[in-house]
């Protein structure tokens, strides 16, 4: 009978640990989801920004060699992501398709100029940098003008900034909430054992000796929680991939690795710090203060 009781109390203890592990895992899952959101928002804003660009309109009599040299120079600069040469003929063809009218026949000649379409890296796709880059390109004598929609760059940048700001505040708040939830969970686990901590001190154990096992056990729980979180996050990523293949998350393994590493660091870090603080708190209390 006593063996049964023994088993029962062990099982009760284990189920309370199980609850702790699951609660921590759920909160870490929320942290992971936020990370996923932030990382993809970054990717999305990059994608949008790198689609903004400008056309470098060239003189109509430009020589092939000069054009190629100019394109090479642009490609070599640190701010250009891609360049594309658009010949007079191709420009005419594109415009024709857009207008649905054969304007060359109508005019009798091709009034369009050859150009180079330039796409910038996300870091340079803001109004200030674009203005500077424009000045630099205008120095080439074969360049007639640099054409871009100033307002479009402004609007895109403003909106991205605004959305990122809101997202950052939102995820920041959620992150702090998550940390305090994990901290509370751990403090409760330690609180439940506060009398044990006192007893251990009374029989001559040093603070470090009392703290050690608590921290080790907490870290073990954290690792279980993190494993559980990985399962949930993995499932989520596969689900998103199935629904929104255009995000192509699975192709960007570096980002996912960064996310999983982040969850690991946050999980271990907060559990370690919370446990240490919680145990220290009860190590410092007088036994008469333990009853509150």
């Amino acid at each position: 009978m006593s063996k049964q009781e023994h088993k029962l109390s062990r099982r009760k203890l284990r189920s309370s640990y199980f609850t702790t592990i699951v609660s921590i895992a759920l909160v870490l899952f929320v942290v992971g989801l936020m990370g996923l959101l932030l990382l993809n928002a970054h990717k999305l804003s990059r994608h949008v920004k790198e689609n903004i660009g400008f056309s470098v309109i060239l003189e109509s009599n430009i020589r092939e060699v000069d054009m190629i040299r100019l394109q090479k120079n642009l490609d070599a600069s640190r701010y250009v992501k891609t360049t594309e040469y658009i010949t007079k003929e191709r420009a005419a063809q594109e415009l024709q398709e857009e207008l649905g009218e054969d304007f060359i026949e109508f005019l009798g000649y091709n009034p369009l100029l050859p150009s180079i379409d330039v796409r910038l890296f996300a870091e340079y796709a803001n109004p200030d940098s674009v203005a500077k880059i424009e000045q630099e390109i205008l120095k080439y004598e074969q360049v007639k003008e640099v054409a871009y929609q100033k307002s479009l760059i402004d609007v895109v940048n403003k909106n991205i900034n605004r959305i990122s700001f809101v997202l950052l505040i939102f995820t920041g708040a959620l992150f702090i909430i998550s940390l305090s939830l994990i901290n509370n969970t751990i403090r409760l686990t330690v609180y439940a054992r506060r009398f044990l901590i006192k007893t251990m001190q009374l029989v001559g154990a040093t603070r470090r000796f009392v703290r050690g096992p608590f921290i080790l056990k907490s870290l073990a729980h954290a690792i279980y929680s993190i494993a559980l979180t990985y399962l949930m996050l993995g499932g989520t990523v596969y689900m998103i991939e199935a629904q929104l293949p255009e995000l192509s998350m699975l192709n960007d393994l570096d980002t996912l690795a960064l996310l999983f590493a982040g969850v690991f660091v946050v999980g271990i870090g907060i559990v370690y710090i919370s446990t240490r603080f919680a145990v220290n708190r009860y190590l410092k209390l007088r036994s008469s203060d333990l009853y509150f």
């Binding site: 009781e5 023994h6 007893t199 251990m200 001190q201 009374l202 029989v203 001559g204 154990a205």
Partner: protein
């Protein structure tokens, strides 16, 4: 490190002009108190008279407010927080509410203390645990959980725990408070035997029957002072003494 200052090695507790206080009230003022090695001392007094506070001062759970105090070679006035565990290793403490680690077996309770106090070899630890459990008559219960034992048995585990490191001094804070009369007597016989082996015992109690049955030095906490009855049976409070009946009313 945790070296103690050596004084007169025959005296294990020495308080001089000591004032003992909780943060908000003074319990004992200007008391002098000495206990020698191997001595058995009853500490009596009403609840709230300061018995527990005095014992707490001995094991550094309560700081000494004023005066001088030396316990097992440690100067209470100069004691630093990190030295407290080392002082406690020279003491064995027995509590009314046992204070066993309820999440582990009797054996693991004792093992924890040995590991906490620097024992390393498994075989030595096993031997020592078996020895102390034999001594308190619980050799066959080592794999029980504390809650599976009776109150008397749990208290004997606590005494076994107190004996593990062969302390010079055993502090017992109303250890019989939760026990029936037979278990109480058994416990007291055990502690007397321990004191006969050279370990000092300070035994705080409410149980005046024990005082009569097993006479020894008696010290009473009363009106913020300590009163010595120095083994004089006539002066001892007993059941006919009004003091004693007060105690009994309180116990009810």
């Amino acid at each position: 490190m945790h070296r103690k200052i050596m004084t007169d090695s025959k005296i294990i507790i020495r308080l001089k002009n000591a004032t003992i206080a909780h943060p908000d009230n003074v319990v004992l003022t200007n008391i002098d108190f000495e206990v020698s090695r191997g001595e058995f001392v009853y500490l009596i007094g009403r609840t709230g008279s300061g018995k527990s506070s005095l014992l707490k001062t001995f094991y550094a759970e309560l700081p000494l407010l004023r005066g001088e105090g030396t316990i097992a070679g440690y100067d209470l006035k100069k004691l630093k927080t990190r030295q407290v565990p080392y002082l406690r290793r020279n003491l064995g403490i027995v509590f009314q509410d046992f204070q066993l680690l309820t999440d582990r077996s009797v054996y693991e309770n004792l093992l924890f203390v040995l590991k906490a106090t620097g024992w390393k070899k498994k075989a030595d630890m096993h031997k020592r645990i078996t020895e102390v459990l034999e001594k308190v008559g619980l050799g066959y219960k080592e794999y029980k959980m504390p809650h599976e034992l009776s109150g008397g048995e749990q208290q004997r585990v606590v005494i076994a725990r107190a004996l593990l490191n062969n302390p010079d001094l055993i502090l017992a804070d109303e250890p019989t408070g939760n026990l029936d009369p037979e278990s109480s007597e058994g416990l007291l016989r055990l502690l007397l035997e321990i004191s006969n082996n050279g370990q000092a015992v300070v035994f705080a109690t409410h149980d005046y029957n024990l005082l009569n049955k097993f006479p020894a030095r008696i010290v009473e906490c009363k009106d913020s002072k300590l009163i010595e009855y120095n083994n004089q049976p006539a002066a001892m409070p007993n059941e006919d003494n009004p003091q004693a009946s007060d105690e009994e009313i309180e116990l009810l």
